[in-house]
Subunit: 143 residues, 2 copies
DNA sequence: CTCAATGCAAACCGTTTGCATGCTC
DNA sequence: GAGCATGCAAACGGTTTGCATTGAG
């Protein structure tokens, strides 16, 4: 997506087109990695973009509220992570060795969810799935 | 399980049998609720059990490390929650209205997990599933 | 008697907030 | 020009830690 595309996405959400909103969207749209606020802050610093950490947090909040980003919490981490919302339902496969996080685009729960909804009386609006294990590389180091 | 049963579980794990370990195990074993450290601390205070909050945290850490408790993180909460480990695989159904958390004892992922392991090259050691929605009561208040 | 458990106070770290200033519409 | 965005510093809340004291084995 072009820079103008990001601007359009911001305006389309009824938001003001500001410098750091564009920068954050551009930055996260270029990776499949889940980044924390501090990671984003540091990576931008390296590119000589002087943003304040509070602004990172506030911008992330706005973009999450407007479904441009997703906020993700990983079991065992105290920080939140963020990803660019590509509107593709997915889950994560997480390596306990190197902390690599890999998205999985096929979801095993659609059918199950309907049954659960019927049986529980809940109106189910979403779910979250994570798989944990050891990737090919880290498997080898498991003595 | 009797009080002596909890003591045996502590000793069996090679741990010292101390006052607060027994109290915490007894307390969590009586509920299916996921409690935070502060909730445990407050509930014990109400029962006139004067434990220090640091001790709650340290005791929880020990019991989690020894598989007597499970540490659970709920999406969107910054605190950890804890449950007595009954060695029954389960997941959670969480109401976005009243924050009620209900365990589900049937797991849809066994077969899928094997396939994923084969396809991804990961050695999968576990997973985590949560369903979000609105319970019967809260459904009614959704305007 | 020894070493681990506990209490207490202070530190820590991710995140949020109040306020003054700057920028978008 | 009005009101939201940003920078800065301070506050916040959950959790951890250092150190002195207590208690289990």
């Amino acid at each position: 997506m072009t820079k103008q595309g990001f601007v359009n996405r911001i305006i389309g959400a009824g938001l003001k087109n500001t410098k750091y909103r564009v920068i954050l969207i551009e930055h996260l749209s270029k990776t499949e990695k889940l980044l924390s606020a501090k990671e984003i802050y540091k990576q931008l610093s390296k590119k000589h973009i002087a943003i304040n950490l509070s602004t990172v947090y506030r911008t992330l909040d706005v973009l999450v509220d407007n479904n441009i980003f997703n906020r993700v919490t990983i079991e065992g981490e105290k920080q939140s992570r963020y990803e660019y919302n590509r509107d593709i339902h997915h889950h994560f496969l997480i390596c306990r060795g190197c902390n690599k996080i890999i998205p999985i685009y096929d979801c095993p729960l659609e059918v199950y969810e309907e049954r659960l909804q019927a049986e529980s009386g809940f109106q189910i609006t979403g779910h979250r799935v994570e798989f944990y294990g050891f990737c090919d590389d880290c498997k080898k180091n498991l003595d």
